[in-house]
């Protein structure tokens, strides 16, 4: 008797869950407003990528053309495929001490796998991910970028 009721309960529970599924897809079908497709080339003007999108590695600069990179080289060490090259220089600062600063932060976009280790390990949060994703170029040398802007200096208070 027990297995008999089990059999019918199985049928009705199964039917109920099937109708639940049908309800979900039916709702989507009759509500075109839920469409998530981006009509990409047509909407490039107002296309906004989501915050976590990893388009490219950038070095944010403030309005005084200052960045936070100390030139420590941790990103270069952590990069698994050598996409980052740090060229540092030594200057004498106001206190008369020698200081290591960044000369060029070279980023090879063509080799980058967007793993995010450089951004994650940077001790001074100098690196970030940009939202730009249209990287196609006709010459691959254009994929090698210098992240610190010319004439930029390190931000005050970043060690």
């Amino acid at each position: 008797m027990n297995s008999f009721t089990e059999y019918f309960r199985g049928i009705f529970n199964g039917l109920r869950s099937l109708f639940q599924g049908l309800g979900v897809t039916g709702k989507y079908f009759f509500k075109p407003g839920t469409t998530v497709t981006q009509q990409y080339p047509n909407n490039r003007k107002d296309l906004k990528m989501f915050d976590m999108f990893k388009g490219e590695v950038i070095m944010p600069h403030n309005e005084k053309n200052e960045h936070k990179c100390t030139g420590c080289g941790i990103c270069e060490i952590n990069c698994p495929n050598g996409s980052i090259e740090i060229i540092s220089a030594t200057i004498v600062n106001e206190d008369g001490k020698k200081q290591r600063i960044i000369d060029k932060h070279i980023y090879h976009l063509g080799m980058c796998t967007f793993c995010g280790l450089c951004v994650k390990t940077c001790p001074s949060q100098a690196l970030a991910f940009g939202q730009e994703f249209e990287h196609a170029v006709f010459d691959r040398t254009k994929l090698t970028k210098v992240l610190n802007q010319p004439g930029s200096k390190i931000m005050k208070g970043v060690e």
């Binding site: 049928i11 099937l18 599924g21 049908l22 979900v24 897809t25 039916g26 989507y28 079908f29 075109p32 839920t34 469409t35 998530v36 497709t37 009509q39």
Partner: protein, 362 residues
């Protein structure tokens, strides 16, 4: 000549008499056959193209996508572009394949569905052949397609094809029973197997209303088993992409693949057309006994439109099922058939016979 959208029998009779007037009866029959063949072929191609487009749009909307929208307005010419591409694809010869069977298989599949379409009544008088065992003929012909599937799998000399074909064989042999018994249930109610008389019997109420609960159960079982018989999802183990690349048509390319593809969609149309004919009155408009004004309004809509609307309604239902449910495993598939559908179906047949014998139906 008298042409009417509501009754094609005078139109076909006019073609017949004018042909017989100009040639011997044997030639007249031959010319008629060719005309019907061409008409059905054109219909077949148009419906196939439309169904592929409809499927892509329906599944896109159900998955919150847009679907094809580049070729033509709303992407309507997408399937035509696909067809043109398929026509130009190279037919790859397979090493160690059984050449004859490999080439014959797609034709068997497509001829099986082509023959089934001949017996389907599209409108009053618009039916290629009205057999007195119409339902039986349709069941017999629609199960022919599996021979083509098995041949394709065997002749391809490919393990994925063979596994796919064997799964398809097990599936169709099992679910054929359910399709048959569900239709037999309705034949018990109709009292005839002739499709034109089945439709005539639904003048004052479609069988799904006349037959009460057993008819509804039979319809649900028919839709489940019919979806399985056409090898469509959630019963598409025969071509389970994730396991078998494409199942029995892995090795096919170009127009031969297009034949399998087209036959799948036409089988869906045929299953839906049979369901529309047997459960929803085919081309018969919706009538309520005694409401003469309402009936006149319903009669104003041509029967062809009724038939197509019902059929595509059921096709939409099948697409809805396909794009909602995940694929069954082979043991789940056989459990569903042998432990659930078949016992329920046999009990349902008894219930229907009881209903008819006691006169509880209308």
């Amino acid at each position: 000549m008298e042409f009417s959208l509501y009754d094609f029998s005078s139109f076909t009779a006019w073609i017949d008499s004018s042909l017989r007037a100009s040639m011997s009866p044997g030639w007249a029959v031959a010319v008629e056959m060719i005309l019907i063949g061409i008409a059905i072929l054109i219909f077949y191609a148009l419906v196939g193209l439309f169904l592929v487009y409809a499927e892509r749009k329906v599944c896109a909307l159900m998955q919150n996508r847009l679907g094809p929208n580049r070729v033509g307005p709303g992407g309507v010419f997408q399937t035509i572009a696909d067809l043109v591409k398929l026509l130009f694809v190279e037919l790859v010869p397979i090493k160690n394949a059984d050449r004859v069977l490999f080439n014959v298989a797609p034709f068997i599949v497509i001829i099986a569905s082509f023959m089934a379409i001949g017996a389907i009544p599209f409108a009053k008088g618009l039916q290629a052949i009205d057999l007195n065992i119409g339902v039986f003929y349709l069941m017999a012909i629609s199960s022919m397609g599996v021979i083509g599937v098995l041949l394709a799998g065997w002749a391809s000399n490919n393990k994925y094809s063979l596994i796919g074909a064997m799964r398809s064989g097990a599936q169709i042999v099992s679910y054929e029973l359910s399709v048959g018994l569900a239709l037999v249930t309705m034949v018990v109610l109709a009292g005839t197997m002739q499709l034109s008389e089945i439709i005539e019997g639904q003048r004052w109420g479609w069988f799904i209303f006349k037959g009460h609960i057993p008819a509804v159960i039979a319809f649900v079982i028919y839709i489940i088993a019919g979806t399985a018989e056409t090898n469509r999802g959630p019963f598409d183990l025969a071509e389970a992409e994730s396991e078998l690349t494409a199942g029995y048509h892995t090795e096919y390319s170009g127009i031969k693949f297009a034949f399998f593809f087209l036959a799948e969609y036409m089988n869906m149309f045929i299953v839906a057309a049979i369901a529309a004919t047997v459960f929803f009155g085919g081309w018969m408009p919706f009538h309520v006994y005694g409401w003469d004004g309402f009936n006149a309004v319903m009669d104003f809509i041509p029967p062809f439109v009724w038939f197509i609307a019902k059929t595509f309604g059921i096709v939409f239902l099948m697409m809805w099922l396909k794009w909602t449910f995940p694929r069954l495993r082979i043991d789940q598939l056989l459990t569903l058939e042998w432990k659930y559908l078949l016992p329920i179906n046999i009990f349902n047949l008894l219930l229907m016979a009881f209903l008819v014998l006691t006169g509880l139906h209308w």
